[in-house]
């Protein structure tokens, strides 16, 4: 019989077992025993955030940029409810998070005790699974299982709710490695990739004269090797490739085979290729409604192959002709191997077959759908992102964003060459994500350049995390494209609501330079295009947190854009197209 240890200590033992080095958290009555225990575990560093939502997004940034699960620790009641937005965000974007929450002592559960809330009830729909620990003897097993569930299959957030009395109680600590419950068959990441299926894929690829790869966040989640394999697949086939918002970086953004991002604000060539293709190979993406638009008119003439680790993602929005349930990396490895073994000459023998297709694509490319009218007087937001890219691309830069126009401009104009360098809230679209996410990224990569491309409205939602950055000397750069508007809202009001700019202008914005100084970091402001380069360089060279107030044209709209209700081949390319294009029908559909 070993030494008896407390629940609080068990929590740390399991964290140590899973090699957790950082937890993002905020203390409170119901987690005090865990905080008391912190001092005895030197390999685990606690990062004190300023709001539990920040802890969640920081854990997400940490996880997304490192491939490891992010861990957060919050107290009961308001601590747990504040975490809900971040958990939902992680659920939508498949980010592995383990959230530990305190709960009132077991005997008070159900009595409306101080800071009691039904945490497992509230978080049930926004976690892969959650547990309320009622018996100290279950704690180690549940904590261990929590990591297993968060990181296997399609990753996602989990929550372990631990009543305060359980944190104090003592028991033997046993963590049976062999005891890995199979999670009722759900932990395994792989369906079977049969050679039959691989040959079907290859046969469809050979028959196709207008093929396209449509890749998503699943490639990133599968690990860096999957991105390497994707690059190999493109070089083996010579096919064009487009990516979702979440998949950016899996394939080099400046490679000629890459058509840019697709979807509502994707490029003209990517969306037209999606519409006109005769074979679509979806690798780790989920036919999200911002991608498909109206499903009945989505890519009407193509055969569709879908590879996804989550069976429920296949056939949910779009019917496909061939479904393969698999981890993306394992699939790519098997497919490449098969091509190299059996179809050595694929690239050359198929070149002629798709040469006309590439000509079509080049024609679409000529439209230069990401171009914009630059100005000498005001900074165009697209120009600011372009300059930021040019001046930071030689460093291994990590970019996070908030949500809005700036997010789309970042996705369009910042070119990513590696996976895990791009952290954005796609599924939930959470304003306030980028700043705390940058905190988490910088924790995981202390020596790298980490930039949050932000909007002035979004960043105010979690601005308090600047204080966290200052406390831990995290030199994150908050690059605000300050258009003084909730620009994305303003754009829709302009196009769809007769320019009734109802509540989308933020009066009384703070002076961001002074705000930076108040937090104890550096503020920089740029208002003219010709001062931009110098100031961006200044920002990059400061080894401290910086808030950069980049004053941009307040009336710029984000193009290209698929006005909803339109199929992918009818995009708005710029203001000239605006006038007659959005029909009444279209208005209902954006």
């Amino acid at each position: 019989m070993g030494k008896l240890i407390s629940g609080a200590e068990i929590v740390f033992k399991v964290l140590e077992h899973h090699k957790v080095d950082h937890i993002f958290g905020y203390p409170g009555g119901a987690v005090l025993p865990i905080y008391d225990e912190l001092k005895n575990h030197k390999t685990i560093k606690h990062i004190l955030v300023r709001h539990e939502q920040g802890a969640g997004h920081a854990a997400e940034g940490y996880a997304r940029s490192s491939g490891k699960p992010g861990v957060m620790l919050v107290t009961s009641g308001p601590g747990a409810t504040n975490a809900v937005t971040a958990l939902t965000d992680a659920y939508m974007d498949s980010i592995p998070i383990v959230c530990i929450s305190g709960q009132v002592p077991t005997h008070l559960i159900g009595t409306d005790a101080f800071q009691e809330c039904d945490t497992t009830g509230i978080t049930r729909p926004c976690t892969k699974h959650n547990w309320l620990v009622k018996d100290i003897n279950d704690l180690a097993k549940i904590m261990d299982l929590a990591f297993e569930v968060a990181t296997t299959g399609r990753p996602g957030p989990v929550l372990v709710d631990i009543p305060k009395d359980i944190q104090f109680k003592k028991t033997n600590f046993v963590l049976k490695n062999s005891n890995k419950k199979k999670l009722n068959g759900k932990s395994s990441s792989n369906g079977k990739i049969t050679t039959n299926n691989l040959d079907k894929v290859i046969s469809l690829m050979k028959k196709s004269s207008k093929p396209i790869f449509y890749t998503g966040g699943g490639v990133i989640n599968s690990g860096p090797e999957a991105s390497n394999l994707l690059r190999e697949l493109i070089s083996l086939t010579g096919f064009p490739i487009t990516s979702t918002l979440q998949g950016l970086g899996a394939y080099p953004g400046d490679d000629p085979s890459f058509l840019g991002m697709l979807g509502m604000h994707g490029t003209y060539e990517a969306n037209n290729a999606m519409y006109s293709c005769d074979l679509m190979v979806n690798i780790g993406a989920r036919f999200d409604d911002r991608i498909t638009g109206k499903v009945d008119e989505f890519s009407p003439n193509s055969k569709k192959i879908h590879i996804d680790i989550d069976p429920s993602s296949i056939g949910k929005n779009i019917k496909v002709d061939l479904a393969i349930v698999s981890d993306v990396g394992s699939f790519l490895k098997a497919l490449n191997k098969r091509i190299k073994e059996k179809h050595k000459d694929f690239l050359n023998s198929n070149k002629h077959n798709i040469s006309k297709w590439w000509k079509d694509i080049d024609k679409w490319r000529q439209k230069k759908s990401l171009s914009f009218k630059n100005s000498k007087e005001v900074i165009k937001p697209q120009y600011a992102v372009q300059r930021l890219y040019e001046l930071s691309k030689n460093k291994d830069t990590f970019i996070t964003t908030e949500v809005g126009q700036h997010q789309m401009w970042a996705a369009q104009h910042y070119k990513f060459n590696k996976p895990n360098r791009w952290m954005t809230s796609g599924g939930l679209g959470t304003m306030g994500y980028g700043l705390p996410a940058a905190v988490g990224v910088q924790i995981a990569h202390p020596d790298k350049l980490v930039i949050d491309i932000a909007g002035e409205a979004s960043v105010l939602m979690t601005m308090q995390e600047m204080s966290t950055a200052v406390q831990y000397k995290l030199p994150i750069k908050i690059f605000i494209l300050n258009n003084q508007y909730m620009g994305m809202v303003r754009q829709w009001q302009e196009l769809l609501h007769e320019k009734n700019y109802s509540e989308s202008y933020t009066a009384a914005l703070p002076d961001f330079v002074k705000l930076a100084e108040a937090y104890g970091c550096v503020g920089i402001k740029a208002s003219k295009p010709d001062e931009l380069d110098e100031k961006i360089n200044q920002m990059i060279n400061i080894n401290e947190p910086v808030i950069f107030d980049c004053r941009v044209d307040p009336s710029e709209n984000c193009y290209p854009m698929i006005p909803s209700g339109k199929p992918h081949n009818q995009m708005l390319l710029g203001p000239e197209d605006e006038k007659e294009e959005v029909s009444d029908e279209g208005k209902t559909l954006v």
């Binding site: 049930r124 999670l183 409604d289 109206k294 209902t588």
Partner: protein, 182 residues
């Protein structure tokens, strides 16, 4: 003409809605029913009836039988989403009109009325495995097991005969023959 200006695309063409019986084997642990039911309400699926009880005392497995309706793609999603829940072991799905499946509901009726009407009522219940469970000088409680639509019909015809209270379970289902669902 101003139409609504929602942020989402129009619904596409819908398939035809069908009735299905979904049987789910789950670990009988705290909150498991809430997970299953929450999945249905959260994703807008329909529950017509639900029956649940532990069927394996040793392994603590409960069997949940849900009658639902939806288009084929919704039914497919229901199954796939259920299978993702951690405590779910397996999910079976039968069409309601599948001749290979037995399918029963139990109902209790309390009838308070004259002797004549009570006799009439009792006769009407007869072909549905009726048992009288309780009798008083002006009432009885009767148990029947039948298909949902038969019970619906019984309620209708018993009402004028003094039906004052109805209690009924959700449907339970089982395949015919020697096979079981793996």
């Amino acid at each position: 003409m101003t139409k609504s200006k929602s942020a989402y695309s129009e619904p596409g063409k819908l398939g035809k809605s069908e009735h299905h019986i979904i049987v789910v084997w789950v670990d009988n642990e705290a909150g498991v029913l809430a997970r299953v039911v929450g999945l249905f309400s959260g994703r807008g699926y329909n529950i017509e009836s639900l029956a649940v009880a532990e069927v394996d005392k040793k392994k603590h497995i409960s069997r949940i039988t849900i009658v639902t309706s939806g288009t084929p793609s919704v039914i497919e999603q229901i199954k796939l989403q259920l299978k993702k829940l951690i405590p779910v072991h397996k999910v079976a799905d039968f069409k309601r009109n599948d001749p290979n499946i037995l399918f029963k509901e139990l109902a209790l009726f309390k009838v308070v009325s004259s002797k004549k009407n009570r006799e009439k009522a009792q006769k009407l219940c007869k072909k549905y495995n009726a048992f009288v469970l309780d009798k008083s000088k002006n009432s009885f409680v009767i148990q029947v097991t039948a298909l949902r639509r038969d019970i619906d019909k019984l309620i209708e015809i018993l009402s004028p005969l003094g039906l004052v209270s109805t209690s009924r379970t959700g449907a339970v289902a089982m395949t015919r023959g020697s096979e079981t669902f793996k």
